[in-house]
């Protein structure tokens, strides 16, 4: 029944290989783009089939093993796939959003050098991401986990001739690797701990089944989950490993939408969901996860307030939203976290693609006027709503969704998270407070973005101003589809108190139910509290929108005055709290200095010094001995006689 699961990652892999090997020869952009898009669309079709098949099935967990990968002693690793509600939802998101973004890219990447390369990487990314979500054991997941990191590296470095792109790509991969270090350590510790209890396995189903062997709340399980959380931090750009994501905006915009908003960065959340059994057993870790999530949500939001690059604002917004998801995971609201993951994928993909559409238009205008201004700087935009109506509408809808305005998707998911963070027995009111403030900031900076881009005076250079067209259909169709999803995506999870059935919660019951039940995680509170909280968060969001409207539409001079008044604060926020600089000073430069010291100091001076010193010692010894060799014949003769006398004398005196 489920034995053809391998087809899902298989199609993009084939697409990637075809484009990678033959793309240069094909040259025709439509064919190249077509191959890739068809490949991922086929995956989507297969995913749909299995998704609905799973919905109708009573048994919710299915594994399909393709081949053995490694088998060494007690370690047996298979190339195997796992389909359960969690991975089913993820493959739907990945292939669905992925297909749209592929379609979008055909228009967006038109005329780029290395078109085939882009699509090959993009397909490879989809393959890796699908391996990540479908893997039935931690190692197959890790293949995807690193694979998406690789593709992220390749795609961020797509414009490799720009130094900043190369730097950003490297940074992304290395920071991800720090996370992977945690992932691996967690995996080893888990394997060994379970192994010492007699179960040698890294399969998710068996780990879940045998999690009870570990001491609940014990040190070991806490360390294991903390290690895994470090991995999640790296991949999902949480404090302290978030710095790579804003830089990753060096990549083409569809990449930002697919990888750095919708799918890859949520892998950390997915992983915690996959390991919920273990995380639920470690309250300390859960607390750390929630705290880090909430802190990240707020922290990234503050930075987002002051950025002028349209994609950077969205990047910090992504970090902030990922913080929400971790907050959800940390307070035990696993299904809410994944729910937010899904809605976020819709509206953030839409936002990124919308921004891409704007950049595409701006670029077109500048290109036409032969200017080299930055097409991503919001200070050069404004008033675009009339030039690009479709982009504007979809963008606005998504912005409303992300701001948490009722009836839009983001409201339901975000509200669920905020409620759990307040009411859950793993939550705390301070977490809620952080989340709510961050929600207000989100509303503010997102609407600031909308107002600066689409409203007001057009601040574009006069020569380019009239040459900004609406984007072609391949770009606008995905925008429209995602826009619609951004509105309706939330209705699968309407909470009970609003008269909904919370389908998504029940949908995830087979995955998370047991972990929640075993560890007594629940959210309590009266309906009145819930309503009040909801009202407060909506109120904050509306206040944020109002503030943005006041500052950027009604009275555009206000931001300038504000900045002038709080110069110091603005500078700190504008420079992202100097986190990059602090990391450079704390980690990067000392490591470089250490490397230089080890090389020039230890390797060349000490080790080679000793080695060459031994050689020198022999040399010096020989130098001294050399003086006995005067080169004069009579000295040799003299020595000969002395030697003879010695020998004979020895025999005489013996």
């Amino acid at each position: 029944m489920y034995d053809k699961l391998w087809l899902i990652p298989f199609f993009p892999l084939v697409g990637s290989i075809i484009n990678g090997l033959l793309g240069k020869k094909i040259k025709n952009e439509k064919v190249i783009g077509g191959i890739s898009t068809v490949a991922i669309a086929l995956s989507f079709v297969v995913s749909c089939k299995y998704f609905f098949q799973l919905l109708g099935d009573t048994d919710k967990t299915h594994e399909s093993i393709v081949a053995s990968w490694m088998s060494v002693g007690s370690l047996q690793v298979d190339w195997g796939f796992l389909l359960d509600p969690l991975s089913a939802l993820m493959i739907m998101v990945v292939t669905g959003v992925g297909s749209l973004i592929h379609l979008y890219s055909i228009g967006y990447m038109h005329g780029e050098e290395g078109f085939y390369r882009f699509f090959s990487y993009l397909n490879l990314f989809c393959f890796s991401m699908l391996m990540l979500v479908l893997g039935n054991n931690a190692l197959v997941m890790f293949v995807g986990w690193e694979g998406v990191g690789l593709c992220s590296y390749l795609l961020i470095g797509y414009y490799f001739e720009k130094k900043s792109a190369g730097d950003a790509a490297k940074k992304a991969f290395v920071v991800n690797r720090i996370g992977d270090f945690g992932f691996l350590l967690g995996l080893f510790l888990l394997f060994w701990t379970l192994g010492s209890k007699g179960v040698w396995t890294i399969q998710f189903t068996e780990i879940a089944a045998n999690a009870h062997l570990l001491e609940s709340g014990g040190v070991i399980v806490t360390i294991i989950t903390l290690c895994f959380f470090l991995g999640a931090c790296g991949k999902s750009a949480q404090i302290p490993l978030f710095t790579w994501l804003p830089d990753a905006m060096e990549g083409p915009t569809p990449v930002s939408a697919l990888i750095h908003a919708a799918t890859m960065v949520t892998a950390g959340v997915y992983m915690i969901g996959r390991m919920c059994g273990l995380f639920a057993m470690a309250p300390t870790t859960m607390m750390v996860v929630a705290t880090v999530g909430a802190a990240t949500a707020l922290f990234a939001a503050t930075i987002g307030l002051a950025q002028n690059d349209i994609k950077r604002v969205l990047a910090y917004s992504t970090v902030s939203q990922l913080g929400y998801m971790f907050l959800a995971m940390g307070v035990g609201a696993f299904s809410a976290g994944i729910f937010h993951l899904m809605t976020h994928a819709f509206f953030k993909a839409c936002l990124f693609l919308g921004s891409g559409s704007v950049i595409h238009g701006m670029h077109h205008g500048y290109h036409h006027a032969h200017l080299h201004d930055d097409p991503q700087d919001m200070r050069n935009m404004g008033g675009l709503r009339k030039k690009m109506p479709i982009t504007f509408i979809t963008f606005l809808v998504s912005t409303i969704a992300i701001s948490g305005i009722p009836l839009f998707s983001g409201f339901f998911s975000k509200d669920e998270i905020l409620w759990w963070s307040f009411g859950s027995n793993r939550g705390h009111w301070s977490l809620w407070l952080l989340g709510a403030i961050a929600a207000g900031m989100t509303a503010f900076y997102m609407f600031r973005l909308v107002f600066m881009t689409f409203y007001g005076e057009q601040r574009t250079d006069a020569r380019a101003k009239d040459h900004i067209p609406e984007s072609p259909l391949t770009i606008t169709i995905p925008l429209m589809v995602l826009g619609v999803l951004a509105v309706i995506g939330g209705y699968v999870g309407v909470p009970a108190i609003l008269g909904g059935a919370n389908h998504i919660h029940h949908y995830f019951e087979p995955v998370f139910g047991e972990a929640i039940k075993l560890n007594n995680i629940s959210a309590h509170g009266s309906h009145a509290t819930e309503y009040a909280l909801m009202a407060i968060s909506v109120g904050i969001a509306v206040f944020g929108i109002f503030l943005a409207w006041t500052m950027y539409v009604k009275n555009p001079a206000l931001p300038g005055q504000f900045v002038a008044k709080f110069t110091g604060l603005h500078r700190v926020i504008f420079n992202k709290w100097y986190v990059d600089e602090i990391y450079d000073a704390l980690f990067v430069n000392p490591t470089k200095r250490l490397g230089t010291f080890l090389w020039r100091g230890i390797d060349v001076r000490v080790v080679d010094g000793i080695v060459n010193g031994v050689g020198k010692l022999v040399n010096v010894g020989s130098m001294l001995l050399r003086y006995t060799q005067t080169g004069y014949v009579h000295n040799y003769a003299f020595m000969m006689v002395v030697g003879m006398l010695f020998i004979v004398g020895f025999y005489i005196l013996r």
């Binding site: 490694m70 002693g73 992977d180 080790v607």
Partner: protein, 518 residues
């Protein structure tokens, strides 16, 4: 035929060498072609070994040949005793596989005294194969020393600017270690003779079954361990590697990295550990510590290198640290990972040296600062380089990952847990230094006008890289082919190095039981 297959493999290159010596000295293509044909024949002839399924089930030595050789009554007896098991199988295959590639890589690179180079290459192949298949310690020592000579000349004659220093350093470093080993080998033999144990020459199979006092084991183990540690090379005795690799010609670097370094690690697996199990236990933490230091140290030093070849050389120190850690884990995962990582390192680092050779042939410089933006000029090269880079970093799906993962997992499941934690940081550093180098060489704008018109890879160069790429993915995706033939031998090895300890423990305990009974 099959019963003499190993001898055939080993001495065919020697025959080839003699043929090469009789060819005209100024006909370069003929000399190279002849050498290539000989190495290819050896590779083809070695294929039956790889396809033999007996290794899946049996830990016994296969293809054994035994001929009495030097026999001086009771004083000294050594035999021509060869055979392979799952441990040496893949190293033999690696040797026969890498050699044609190394020879093909010399096509444009070696232009002076071609005859000498080819003859030495073939001699080197004989020596390497001989060392991997020897089951007589003395025979092993002969081949082990024989390897030094061609390599010394390769570096010293065809090397770069500082070649004499590098060659002498390489030679003296290795010779110091191997002389200590020679003393130990002779001591073991006479110890066995004096203890009246029935031995057949220097057969290691007989030595395996011999029990020695712990103090004696300690000394002998140290002699062996030092010799192999220099060859590996492990942390404090690694400095010859950077110089030798930097100065050696491309083919020399490839052979050195891919095969010669494996002699050290192979020596631990085949000789040092099973011969002296108790001493191994005693020194395990220290050696593992050195391995871990090597991993991190090699990576940190590699990070700051300005010369591509030196960077790759230091990355070897780091990678071989992983191999050593896996071996010292002394469990099946660690050992299998270590063995697999030996092959992986041979493939990835060999390929990296080839790649450095490609750009060196084009630009005659190896300084990272002289490059930049090559990805634009040489797209195919960029792709190949990238795949190899990620294989070296250990990306899942490539060979490097499987090896490193098994090693770390093995180390974690053994008593070396904390070492494994620190070793895992090597995974991060590997990404740092390789990607930084890759970025500086391949990314960015073409700033140096000399780089603007470089040819992309030729057909010959692609022919060199393709087999390596094939194995990068093969081992990465389906390593079972390799693992399943190693496992029986490795399990046997673990049994050997642990069961003897049990015997020793029982021997200690029995007297106390007796006294209690009284």
């Amino acid at each position: 035929m099959t019963e003499h297959l190993l001898s055939l493999l080993t001495f065919l290159p020697l025959v080839g060498m003699i043929v090469v010596l009789f060819l005209p000295r100024d006909n370069g293509p003929l000399l190279k072609g002849c050498t290539l044909v000989v190495t290819l024949i050896v590779f083809l002839a070695s294929l039956p070994l790889a396809f033999n399924d007996v290794f899946k089930t049996s830990a016994e030595m296969q293809y054994v040949e035994f001929v009495k050789w030097i026999n001086i009554g009771d004083y000294f007896q050594m035999n021509y005793f060869v055979g392979i098991d799952g441990i040496s199988l893949w190293l033999v295959m690696l040797t026969t596989f890498i050699m044609p590639i190394a020879v093909l890589s010399t096509w444009n690179a070696v232009d002076k005294n071609i005859k000498g180079f080819m003859a030495l290459s073939l001699m080197l192949e004989t020596a390497m194969l001989g060392a991997f298949i020897s089951l007589d310690l003395f025979l092993f020592y002969i081949f082990w020393e024989l390897m030094l000579i061609p390599m010394y000349f390769m570096i010293g004659i065809w090397g770069g600017k500082n070649r004499i220093y590098a060659a002498v350093k390489f030679f003296i470093y290795t010779a110091v270690g191997s002389l200590l080993m020679l003393v130990a080998i002779i001591y073991i033999y006479y110890h066995a003779v004096q203890s009246g144990i029935n031995i057949d020459g220097f057969s290691i199979l007989d030595f395996y079954n011999m029990s020695m006092e712990p103090e004696l084991q300690t000394l002998l183990f140290l002699a062996f361990a030092l010799s192999f540690a220099i060859k590996v090379p492990m942390f404090p005795v690694h400095t010859w590697l950077a110089d030798a690799h930097t100065e050696a010609p491309t083919a020399g670097s490839v052979i050195l990295a891919a095969i010669l370094l494996k002699m050290g690690t192979y020596g631990y697996v085949r000789f040092a550990i099973p011969l002296f199990p108790e001493a191994t236990q005693q020194f395990l933490p220290y050696l593992a510590l050195l391995a871990v230091i090597g991993i991190i140290y090699g990576a940190l030093v590699a990070m700051m290198q300005e010369d591509v070849k030196k960077l790759v050389a230091y990355s070897s120190v780091s990678h071989l640290g992983f191999v050593m850690l896996g071996i010292f884990a002394l469990n099946i995962q660690g050992l299998a990972g270590g063995m697999l990582q030996m092959i992986n390192h041979g493939i990835s680092t060999g390929a990296l040296f080839l790649i450095v050779g490609f750009i060196y042939e084009r630009r005659h410089t190896r300084a990272i600062a002289d490059f930049g933006g090559l990805a634009k000029v040489m797209p195919v090269f960029a792709t190949v380089f990238m795949i190899i880079t990620f294989s070296s970093i250990g990306l899942p799906g490539t060979n490097g990952f499987v090896g490193e993962f098994l090693i770390l997992m093995g180390a974690f499941a053994s008593e070396l847990r904390w070492f494994a934690v620190f070793a895992t940081t090597g995974v991060i550093f590997a990404a740092v230094y390789m990607l930084w180098m890759f970025q500086r060489v391949m990314f960015g704008k073409v700033t140096n006008p000399a780089n603007e018109k470089l040819d992309d890879l030729s057909m010959r160069e692609m022919a060199l890289m393709l087999p390596l790429l094939l194995f990068v993915f093969w081992i990465g995706i389906y390593p079972n082919v390799f693992l399943e033939k190693m496992n029986p031998s490795l399990e046997n090895l673990i049994k050997q190095s642990t069961s003897k300890q049990h015997v020793a423990v029982v021997e200690v305990e029995q007297p106390s039981l007796l006294t209690l009974n009284k």
